[in-house]
Amino acid sequence: MPAGTEGDFPEIAYPPTRGIRAKTTVRIILQGLFVLMVFGPFCAVALQLLDPGVEAGRSWIELLLPTGRRGQLLMQSAGLATGVAISTTALGLLAALALWRCRQGRLSRLKWLALVMAPIPPYIHALAWMTALRFLSGGAVGAGPRAVHGWLLAWWVETMAFLPIAAGLCLLGLEAVRPALIESARVIRSDLKTLGLIVLPLAAPGILGAFVAVLLFSLTDYSVPSIFAVDVYTLEIFAEYSATGNAGEAFLLAAPVSVLAIGAVLVSQLTVSEAASAASPRVLTPMAPLSLPDWFKLIEKGGLFVLGLQILVPLVTLAAQLERPARIFETVQLAAGDIFFSFYVAAMAAVVCLAPALGAARGLLSARGRNRLWWFTAVLPLAVPAPLIGIGLIVIWNRPGLAAFYDSALMPVLAALTRFLPWAALVVLAQMRRVDQSLIEAARVHGKGTVMSWLRVDLPLVAPGIVAAAGIVFALTLGELGATLLVTPPGRSTLTIRIYNYLHYGGSADVAALCLVILGAGLGAALLVWAAMSGWSWLARRA
């Protein structure tokens, strides 16, 4: 029985039927697929260390233990990532609260537009904010003490870049809170206390998920800190890899970041499991919006304002750089193949991730005792630098006889799956936790069979999470560069690769036009999530 239902329902011992056995087999296959996809490249790179043909520069211990300068770099990275995670989660939560409380009207329908900037690479955010700051300060972004302003700018730009993801995950968490519990609490407590004592603890999975996601994104990002001359640990990994070309050594250097990532996720999950079990079972009922004091609403609006700023600043700076329509058309036409290929890869990754993500989410849902290893499995690869994942995929797939696969769009799809499948699993897990288990139990008792009841009851109930996961994977895949660059089939390229190419050339008008294309795709992904959440509400009303 899933974690969320323990204590509320007695354990029912069902006789093993053929349907249940089939369901278990399918689950094991999907979980195996997840482990293979996520860990395959990871292990392939690790095995490079045992390759006698690769010259070993330094000892394993020396690489694994970040002492001296590297230790300091790691601390700096952890400090920046923690700062970014705190501010992003706080702002994301405030904005999500404001959106969540709008349960009727236009804003309620537009709230998933918060995700629209998710696929824009952080580098583009950095350029947009530099342009905006230069405009506001009359060209003096460089003024002031360099060390201070570099850190501040890196913190701010990363906060802006990761805010859509944080706001989206917080919103998912809030949407998962059972309205009946809130209504019960409101009878005896003020709305503000209900928010603090009931809503936020119950939404903790989403909020902590946002914190950990941003922490990991920031820990592994080098592009923004590098622009603002901030030294972070990931740059050390890239410098080492660039100088030696030894993937195994770079993998060992990345291990301390992985340890930080695992620590963050495990700590967050210890807190989440308590909140989750307190929150179930859930049945969605209509709820009047919480009535909060004016000062709180003002803070909320502050969060919403920053969320709007995060969309508006890149949008305005990009639009300002556009040239005449004919030039925009020419740029988009020239990149048409890349646009099609990017969308194709992102769509395929979004679709293919679903089945293994479902299996992994089921594993995570029942992660107790030895099963807690599932968390380790899902999180470990999240902090591995993207190029190493690309190298791992090459090691696995570049073999005689596999040319048809290796030279195809399958490779960038696999790269995206390796990088983002864990995120999809976590989003599906969040949805599974909000499903009313009594519906599933009822379906098992009264349904036509395990498989049919799974298809007709379980799956539709998790469907919104599945579509949200697909939307997130789609958005993240569109912006992926590090791994895609290494496995893109010859003759194909992605929109992101072309954008970075233009950036080097200095074609800001072309960059702006193509970024707006990505933005349009982000809008599509946001609409997809919105459709899923609307579908969920409709299903809940029917139930």
């Binding site: 740059l235 395929m348 190298i391 030279d407 560069l481 290494l486 190419n501 050339y505 200095g506």
Partner: protein, 341 residues
Amino acid sequence: MNCLRLLGLLALLSALTPLVCCVTKKTDPVVVVYTSVDQVYAEPILRDFQSRSGIRVRAVYDVEASKTTGLVNRLIAEQNNPRADVFWNGEFAQTLVLAERGVLGAYRSPAATGLPSLHVDPEGKWTGLGARFRVLLVNASLLGAKPAPSSIFDLLDPTWPADRIGIARPLFGTTATHASALYVSIGPSRARDFFSRVEARGVRVLDGNSTVRDLVVAGELLWGLTDSDDACAAVKRGAPVRVVIPDQDELGTLLIPGTVALISGAPNLAQGQHLVDYLLSPGTENALIDSGFFQLSLRDLRLKPGCMPTGEEVRAMTAGLPEIRRSFQICQQELREIFLK
């Protein structure tokens, strides 16, 4: 029921993906080229080759943001089962790495005739093609009547405010190669001392050469050290900038020849050789000079019409390419201690 259909469709799509992805391509003659030359410059050249030869070109482009961990590492990882036929590099250091690792195959192209021996590998594993070089890009409007800097050592001149001059982080790309060349030319201890003082002074150390260019163009920097192609792109767009070739009195500037190489075990050997010949032809070199990617022909080292005074001969650093490559790793280790902390 609708939901069921939707999920059925998703499952079907999941199952079909590998099949759709792997649809067999046409069987025309093909050549696969991996290139670090900017797509905007390389694409027209490769298209021209395709239309002239009838050989379909399948290219993979690198980006500066990958911090030199892109195509070179892909080629190394693919070494046991090569997929590429040709590596066309915008610089030389990474090509030498590939040659050392046995990734490149020997091919003496007839089109390399007239190239100085310095730019042709004695074993035929790579050949030079056109050149860029390191320049100082100066914001002419901000500088006014003040004399422009003339040497990279002006980075240490206290008359220039440190936070208004910049270089790219010397751990990646051509700035890393330039640092390595300095290690060879002026000796490791002087070079180390130079970079330590640059860092200690608080000179802006930026993300890449294009960032240096952009900040000079934006007026945030008075001047900065960058590549000639980046500088010329700014001149071409009409930015208020001037290009200065540094150290023309004594040391010389770092010449960055492009390189072309055939991959060892290339799956389409004949087509690969054909493409190498085409890329090394004087016509292609001129086209790349005209487009602004190269500023020099390796055949005479004189500046071609473009963003700098034509006809001048560029004084290059005397350090040999293999020596620069050899000092690279130790130089990088030391510079990481200085610039990454």
